[in-house]
Amino acid sequence: MNKEAHETDARASTEVPSDHDDAASDRNTGTEPTPRALTVHEPKPGCRSRLRTLLVPLLAIVTALIIGALVIVFTDTSVYAAFEEGFLQGIVQALVVIIRAYSAFYVGAFGDPGQILGALLSGDTTRIIRAVYPLTETLRTATPYIFAGLAVAVGFQGGLFNIGAEGQYFIAGLTTVFVGYALTGLPALIHLPLALLAGIVGGALWAAIPGYLKGKTGAHEVINTIMLNYIAFRFAEYMLDVGGPMARGDGRPVSPEIQPSAYLPRLFPGQIQVRLNAGFLLALLVAWGVWWLLFKTTIGYEIRTVGHNPRAAKYAGINVARNYVITMAISGGLAGLAASTDILGVLRFMPNAFHSGYGFDAIALALLGKSHPLGVVLASLLFGALRAGARNMQGIARVPIDITSILQGLIIVFIAAPEIIRLIYRVRQLPKGEEIDLTHGWG
């Protein structure tokens, strides 16, 4: 009943611009005799146009970095002091500040090139690993980003806006850590997959709720996922609170340590400080799996069809309501893996009331990656580098780590409104291809 009502709403507002507008059909039918070959673009994008698709994201990143530099300069007292001495001194000091910040940033994200070169020349494995340590941190930080970004991307493909990666992360954290510490005496070969699976299931079930509600009642998933975020947050708080069911019992609001048999193996076990673990490889594997699922299988075809045109999907015999549940479950399972890899690979317990921030970052990642798994992986590597680099920037150049949020916010703005980038750099618009339409309302 409700669903019908919602569909009516959608129909009642057909005046809202859409492809079936009068003008559009005027256009379509008016040109019948002349095939519209002129406006039709190349079927398979060539190398050049592939570069062009990368252009806007790249320019968005560069622009964000430039604005970030300006923010750093304008909030640096030493620059103002230098300007009081003279204009030139001011400019020089500004450049010094920027270079110091961004080089600290670079070193933090990718390692000191000099050290890496020296280590490579020496051929000493330990030295090499130590030199590329920042890079391993970047990859480690990117790992949960990949999962969370994929989660939102799958949602986008299926026409769903999953703002709930954060909440799914909390729930999956609880399930994963529970399996991690409560089951004892299992071999790693069984325990680790079980713990990962627990995370997937926890996240998937939590995410399936808004999917189900959307399919059943038409309730918008954006609101419901936001609401469920807070419920999950409070629930996790309750579970881990001192005296809570999953608290450690030593007066600290954290879960017990997981069993070593549930650890995700570190990639360089000899080097204790290198925290990069098998989770990263799992992330790449899962990204490939998501790509395969979305673009090569009937399940993916159904998800994308529902995402592009739910009415056509219904017409084609696809169960749209069930598909919402499936899409959200896959999405939540992916978000859950972000928690699992964080806990099993790095933290090895679950702390209370920590703000992961993955929920919103993940949206940025999916947008930046154009909801394509490969794009999401690249975007995640960038964000991983941003985070890892910002930590170093804070330590060395005294630039608050929150600069990354500013950069991320700006990147979203520029990606979402590519006209701004095109305006600045005078880039021509790409022909419209298979792009995901995000502009739908609450209805």
């Binding site: 709403d9 975020n229 409070r234 947008l367 949020s405 916010g409």
Partner: protein
């Protein structure tokens, strides 16, 4: 055929509501009476916080009597619903839920005493930022722009209130700066959503991230280094002469700081403006059917710009409240989800300012209750009460009880052709 089907549906709906009333009644009996001893006594006191001289006798009664009374009233409502049916079952549902809450309080305070005045007063204080966030959302969404960036706008408002309030040494400067700060973020939302037709949820997300980044960055850079920049003055409470000395109502409603009154005035003002003025008619038309408004010469873009900016000012006010009428300093991420709970209140209140205020009061009450329960040592984790507003919103949105319909063009960019 037609009629019989429709009547069947109506009867089912009526019965369902009746069952809900009985469930409440049963819940009171099953949840609360077993743990209550016959000689338990509940005391509700009406002490005013600031020692104002309004002597009211405490309400002391046997707990079980109170519980049976509430259960009985809920059951009566159920019987009436089955026999005759109420004209406004949803309103009665609210009343019955109220019985349940009263029963809960009666039970929670058995053998102890609970200060009802303080409780209600603190509910209101906690409801104010939620209500302001909800009002901000209403301003935007009534004209068809989804605003999930309220949180960011409030955060920016709070930051500006602290910084400029400290710099200028005046609450008024702080208040003004906060509104402008919120308005600035709203301006970004407006440009992205209206000019560039960015998906409004994406735009709101960008605003939340940007505002989080900017305020945290600037606060690390300035406020934490120089604490004098984070020491804004605060509004002091004003007892409104005359009405402030009315028992119970006076202390609950009329002994607050200026922003609290301002919020109540805004609720009424925005309600009147929405439904009785030219601006309101145009806003609603633009939010429901922008093309229709356009064909009559209403400038859809202008209406949306104005509304989003006004919404930003209101959200900024919400941020200012957190700083200037509360903790007197800015902390990173201090809004702690108030913007989102405001969104929930907006939906629960059906995009209506009065409804949103009601929802905010309920949410504020749940929040206030949660802190009291810890003191009363009630074996209910405070987290579950804090979840309540979000759960209620999901239930309302699912149409289980009542229905909340968003403006038809909410979230859809307008294209002029």
């Amino acid at each position: 055929m037609t009629n019989s089907l429709r009547i069947g549906e109506a009867r089912r709906r009526k019965r369902r509501m009746g069952i809900v009333f009985f469930v409440f009644s049963l819940a009171i009996l099953l949840l609360f009476t077993p743990g209550t001893r016959a000689d338990d006594v509940t005391t509700f006191t009406f002490v005013t916080a600031r020692g104002m001289e309004i002597p009211i006798a405490d309400l002391i009664f046997p707990t079980l009597v109170g519980l049976y009374l509430m259960a009985g009233l809920a059951a009566l409502a159920g019987i009436w619903q089955f026999a005759k049916g109420f004209e406004h079952p949803n309103a009665v549902l609210g009343v019955v839920a109220g019985f349940f809450v009263l029963a809960f309080l009666t039970w929670a305070a058995r053998g102890r005493s609970m200060n009802m005045t303080g409780m209600l007063s603190s509910s209101l204080l906690r409801a104010v930022p939620i209500a302001l966030a909800a009002l901000s959302g209403i301003m935007c969404e009534r004209s068809g722009v989804v605003n999930i960036g309220i949180e960011g706008m409030m955060l920016m408002g709070a930051f500006c209130a602290a910084l400029f309030g400290s710099l200028g040494g005046s609450v008024w400067i702080g208040l003004l700066a906060a509104m402008l700060g919120g308005g600035l973020m709203a301006g970004l939302l407006a440009v992205l959503a209206i000019r560039y037709k960015v998906d409004q949820i994406v735009a709101g997300t960008a605003i939340n991230i940007l505002a989080t980044g900017l305020t945290s960055y600037l606060s690390t850079r300035y406020l934490q280094v120089n604490p004098a920049l984070n020491r804004p003055p605060t509004f002091s409470p004003i007892a409104i002469p005359g009405v402030a000395s009315i028992p119970i109502i006076g202390p609950v409603l009329f002994t607050h700081t200026l922003p609290v009154y301002l919020t109540l005035i805004l609720v009424a003002g925005i309600f009147i403006m929405l439904f009785y003025t030219r601006w309101g008619l145009r806003s609603r038309a633009v939010g429901e059917h922008p093309r229709a408004a356009d064909t009559l010469g209403v400038n859809v873009f202008k209406v949306r710009y104005v509304n989003v900016l006004l919404g930003g000012l209101v959200a900024g006010l919400g941020g200012a409240y957190l700083v200037l009428a509360s903790v007197a300093r800015f902390d990173q991420l201090m809004t702690a989800g108030k913007g989102f709970i405001g969104l929930a209140a907006m939906i629960f209140g059906k995009w209506n300012p009065i409804g949103a205020l009601g929802a905010s009061l309920i949410f504020g009450f749940a929040d206030a209750l949660q802190t009291r329960l810890a003191i009363l040592a009630v074996p209910i984790p405070s987290q579950f009460l804090l979840m309540a507003p979000y759960l209620v919103t999901i239930i309302v949105l699912a149409g289980v009880v009542g229905q909340s319909r968003a403006p038809a063009a909410d979230g859809r960019p307008y294209e002029k052709e």
